[in-house]
């Protein structure tokens, strides 16, 4: 066995593959593309050009690389008044914890390529995905700055609003398939019976609550720059700020993967075969492409919507979204009862 074989073996070891390649490298590529798309789309709809002059021929696509480099080389300023340890640890932990749920979801139906046993993957991944938000509140608290604290409090309010809805909305697919296993959920959608068609209510609830969870427009409340500068991230600069933003986008990407698996048919219509390429690589790619499209839709909303006030958002979440999620859950149960799901 030579070196390349060993390296390939290590990279394609399922936990590492999902954590590093699908959890970190793929989102980074997707995020750079999506950020560019977001800015271009917002500009198109608002009748501007967006990034352009960096590379006029490809529509300013290099702008994001330039921004990334600027973040990387910027000085990281740690103010005297912050709680240094927490200030440094919070964004990094948030980043790591927002990647972790990727390891608890299946990217293929071949059990050989699951990083962990998948019997309770829906529950485990949802549970893992809820941890990282607390570190954003923590980052705001450690910054010792009024904008950060207000932003952190807003985030905390939003957590109470969205967390339950996400879990309810995604668990409604468990109700439909009577299984906590994402593999069963995906396989139940074989033959075009995607749950977005069978249960649009739950999909809508999941979609909106993910928007809330990742502070996308119109719920970009914790970080709204014309009220609280950058919310919990006000005191961060340079790469740490980039890490914060990256964590938010990776979180959105992970939630997009959840929604893809739960409602958009996961790796279907592709049937995973044997071997690494057809059993693991292609299904993961299918899922990532679907998640990317979902991310693009999330970004598109930025161009259309303004920003809700915090009270409006909470009002919306508890008075409209919560019943919607419950209705989705009920619809799922009903469909399972009358035997609509194979």
């Amino acid at each position: 066995m030579d070196v390349i074989d060993v390296i390939v073996k290590i990279i394609t070891w399922p936990p590492l593959w999902q954590l590093v390649v699908l959890g970190l490298v793929a989102p980074l590529g997707v995020v750079v593309g999506i950020l560019w798309f977001e800015r271009k789309t917002a500009a198109r709809v608002q009748r501007r050009f967006g990034p352009l002059h960096v590379s006029p021929r490809i529509g300013g696509a290099i702008q994001l690389i330039a921004d990334l480099m600027r973040y990387a080389f910027q000085e990281i300023i740690i103010p005297k008044t912050v709680d240094k340890g927490v200030f440094l640890i919070a964004p990094l932990t948030a980043l790591v914890l927002s990647i972790v749920p990727v390891v608890a979801v299946p990217f293929t139906s071949v059990s050989h390529y699951w990083p962990i046993p998948m019997e309770y993957s829906v529950l485990i991944s949802l549970a893992l995905s809820t941890i990282s938000a607390i570190f954003i509140v923590l980052a705001g608290w450690a910054s010792n700055n009024k904008f950060s604290i207000i932003g952190g409090m807003r985030e905390a309010y939003m957590i109470t609003a969205y967390e339950l809805m996400i879990i309810l909305a995604i668990l409604s697919v468990s109700a439909m398939t009577t299984s906590y296993n994402f593999v069963d959920v995906v396989l139940a959608q074989t033959g075009g019976k995607w749950f977005i068609i069978l249960n649009p209510l739950a999909f809508l609830a999941a979609f909106i609550s993910v928007l809330m969870a990742t502070s996308g427009f119109p719920f970009e409340i914790p970080e709204s720059e014309n009220e609280v500068v950058a919310g919990p991230f006000t005191e961060y600069s340079g790469l740490l700020y980039g890490v914060n933003m990256g964590a938010a986008y990776i979180k959105r990407f992970v939630y997009s993967i959840f929604i893809t698996l739960a409602f958009l048919g996961g790796w279907l219509p592709y049937q995973p075969g044997d071997g690494f390429i057809s059993g693991y690589l292609i299904p993961s790619l299918v899922i990532i492409v679907k998640a990317t499209i979902l991310m693009a839709v999330f970004s598109f909303l930025r161009a259309v919507y303004g920003r809700y006030r915090l009270d409006q958002a909470l009002d919306f979440a508890w008075k409209l979204l919560f019943p919607l999620a419950l209705m989705g859950f009920g619809l799922g149960l009903l469909e399972a009862y009358i035997g609509l799901i194979g």
């Binding site: 789309t41 198109r44 709809v45 608002q46 009748r47 501007r48 050009f49 598109f300 909303l301 161009a303 259309v304 919507y305 409209l320």
Partner: protein
């Protein structure tokens, strides 16, 4: 006259379906603009806005027409137009004398156009542009020589002219400027 009575604003209709419809309409407009963007950004150095005749831009003096009446300096609300004394030789009598001539200080001028309007002999006129660059503040206080020349319009040398028109359907639209248009 009796002031008009305040009309109470009608409350916007509330309701889930109304809100849903509103959201859907907003999204549809977004999609519409996404497919057919109606951009009107002026890509400045490459394009420049060809302004219409009568635009109150920079001001130029025609010295031959000026009768040194100082009306322009008196009416100027920003004290930008000033009269300066320049000694010269009278052509007929050959005697030494001093005359007052107007000069302009663009650090103060607000481009109100009063001086052009008030001038009894139409010795002042506007050029239809305003994007002129000076390298320092002192340069913006013109002397009599430079006040008689239209300021250099760099954008016109490098860019292509465009016009903005208001379209019934599309709103503000950028169109290329056709030669000879007013």
């Amino acid at each position: 006259m009796v002031p008009p009575k305040p009309v109470p604003k009608t409350k916007p209709r509330r309701g889930i379906f109304h809100a849903f419809k509103g959201n859907l309409e907003a999204l549809m407009i977004g999609v519409k603009y996404f497919i057919d963007p109606k951009r009107f950004t002026l890509i400045y150095p490459k394009e420049y806005n060809k302004l219409r005749e009568g635009y109150r831009g920079f001001i130029v003096l025609i010295k031959q027409k000026c009768i040194n009446c100082a009306s322009c300096a008196r009416i100027c609300p920003a004290a930008a137009m000033k009269m300066i004394r320049i000694p010269e030789v009278d052509e007929k009598t050959g005697k030494q004398k001093v005359k007052n001539w107007p000069v302009i200080d663009y650090r103060r001028c607000i481009f109100c156009g009063y001086c052009v309007d008030v001038c009894p002999t139409e010795a002042l006129y506007h050029v239809p542009y305003h994007d002129v660059v000076y390298q320092n503040m002192a340069e913006m206080y013109l002397d009599l020589e430079s006040f008689q020349k239209p300021p250099e319009y760099k954008a016109a040398e490098e860019g292509i002219p465009v016009r903005y028109i208001v379209d019934e359907e599309r709103g503000l639209v950028k169109v290329p400027y056709k030669e000879g248009e007013k």
